[in-house]
């Protein structure tokens, strides 16, 4: 009797162990929508209100934790712009989001300073999808640009083609990696981790098909821009209050 209980307990522990191993691996890939999620009913968009971002890096920490992003690589990052009286622009980002932004060594006569969060723009005409030789980069019906890591050959052509520096070759999987809009979360009705983590509501995510969504309302009420419109990629990451210096 005691033997049978021990065996059962051992199996439970083993099962839990195997489960723990596979849970983070499952998270690495953009999950296929399941359940009653209908991608045809949504068209996801992302907005950043640059006037609200305080550069706390909570979004970056949340993204790395949620998506197990390797150190030294970024699915999202924050840029800090400081502009002095002569119009000299300085841009930097954090090396370690756990430490956050450090004070500038020489603030000088800074007249303007602001933070700009960056992610993949999930472009409507994404050039990364165009150049992928095997079709591993693809766009879902609901507007997310994703990578099929089981098909990607790791050539890096999409990394070169992305005008926004959003892609990288993941040193663990040796495949292209990028922001997925936390597709495994949004298809379950949750917000992307970075949006969830932002304490100031600077990051706004929602359904562009829904006129009552937060993003639809924001884009109706405020003036906004997209990054590098001259690239013709039709980004779906919209920036409110963006300074002309931001590229």
């Amino acid at each position: 009797m005691s033997d049978a209980v021990t065996r059962r307990e051992a199996l439970k522990i083993l099962g839990a162990g195997v489960g723990l191993i596979f849970v983070p691996i499952g998270r690495l890939e953009a999950a296929e929508p399941g359940g009653d999620y209908d991608p045809d009913k949504h068209y996801w968009g992302y907005a950043v209100d640059t006037t609200k971002c305080i550069g706390c890096c909570a979004c970056m920490r949340a993204c790395r934790a949620e998506n197990d992003v390797p150190d030294g690589y970024y699915r999202t990052w924050i840029e800090r712009y400081t502009i002095d009286a002569k119009g000299e622009v300085r841009v930097d980002t954090v090396e370690d989001e756990k430490l956050g932004f450090q004070d500038l060594e020489d603030e000088g006569d800074t007249v303007k300073a602001f933070f700009v969060p960056k992610i993949c723009n999930h472009c409507e005409k994404s050039v990364c999808n165009q150049v992928c030789p095997v079709g591993a980069a693809y766009r879902t019906q609901d507007g997310a640009v994703l990578v099929d890591t089981k098909r990607c050959i790791g050539c890096g052509y999409c990394v070169q083609a992305c005008p926004y520096g959003s892609r990288f070759i993941n040193p663990r999987t040796h495949t292209a990696d990028k922001c997925t809009l936390c597709y495994h979360r949004i298809t379950k009705g949750l917000l992307p981790a970075c949006v969830q983590a932002c304490p100031k509501g600077a990051r706004v995510f929602g359904d562009l098909n829904d006129p009552k969504s937060a993003i639809s309302i924001l884009l109706k009420q405020r003036r906004y821009r997209v990054l590098k419109p001259e690239m013709g990629t039709h980004p779906k990451c919209y920036y409110v209050g963006l300074d002309r210096e931001v590229i």
Binding site: C132, P133, V134, I153, G154, V159, A161
Partner: protein, 384 residues
Amino acid sequence: MNYVFPNELHVTWSVMIVLYPFITGLVAGAFIVSSLYHVFGRKELKPVARFSLASAFVFLLFAPIPLQIHLGHPERSLNIMITPNFSSAMAGFGYIYSTYLVLVVLEIWFVFRGDFLARARGTGPAAWLCRVILLFDLREDDATRRADAKIAKFLAGLGIPLACLMHCYVGFLFGSLKANTWWSTALMFVIFIFSAIVSGISVLIFHYFLVSWINRWRVDASCVHALARYLWGFMIIAVALELLEVLSIAYKQTEEWEILGLLISKKLFVSYVVLQLAVFSLIPFLLLAATALFRLRDRLASGLIVTAATMLLIQVLLMRWNVVIGGQLLSKSMRGFTSYLPGIWEKEGLVMAAIIFTMPFVILYVFHRIVPLFPSSRPEAVTT
């Protein structure tokens, strides 16, 4: 101030992607020299005609190796042909490469059929191998020789546009990327094909002299002079196109010039301005001009030509480096540059690149052991 997007700190395309267009360039250039003889009847190129075709073949065999080593998942590389995404320029690689390889193999088969036959009639493993290559059909008469020559000429003619297509395609891979200011130019594929021809002729001259020196053969002066004149012409076009591209951007003083000017004057000053342009373009240009415009003693002219060819081989390698690596040093933030130093022993390091570049010469030597590639080493040539 220097700012690069954080993911740009990692240079994705390294030494292997420098080597890939360099080797494909050698293929295209060597093949075109071979076709100048086989199609256009440039008889003065006869001493290197077979050698150039064999060189194109062996370099072609090794052209995809750097790509294969570079891929994150080389085991999936055939997906590029099995599940291609036709909107991608890169998806064309498998088809263009395979077509060209089949054509070159067929041309080799027809051009060297007589030599394979002669060897197949002997004994030993090489004879057996030649019998397999000939599909155990050892018939030979005037009719078969005429047919071989006719088909070889047709394939050589067909190969010229394919050689251009193959290398234009490589240039197009870079030139079509609008995200990269240093690469994005319609001239890129034209520059690539001309520099390919330069590198192909250069490697033939270099190798011809090397083999002749090792075997104490006398180089064919008229052949070498003809190659030198072609080399001079093609290098003028290649360098002029490269300079025109940069000059036009500089003159227009567009926004992109603010960062490109810095790229050229700071990050690539040594490798581009000093080495590629000033040393390895200007000096060969003057050396080849001297051999083309003045009557020099054969020995002196040969020395100048082989020096110029060797320098131009390095010039094209530098050009590939400055394009591939230079383009990645420039941040898409347009606010700064990243840095790159190649590794030595790593998977995509310099040692691996040296091994890959050496292998075609080894295969070429084995090829030469089976069927002679130079008239000087053929029995009938020795007696004449």
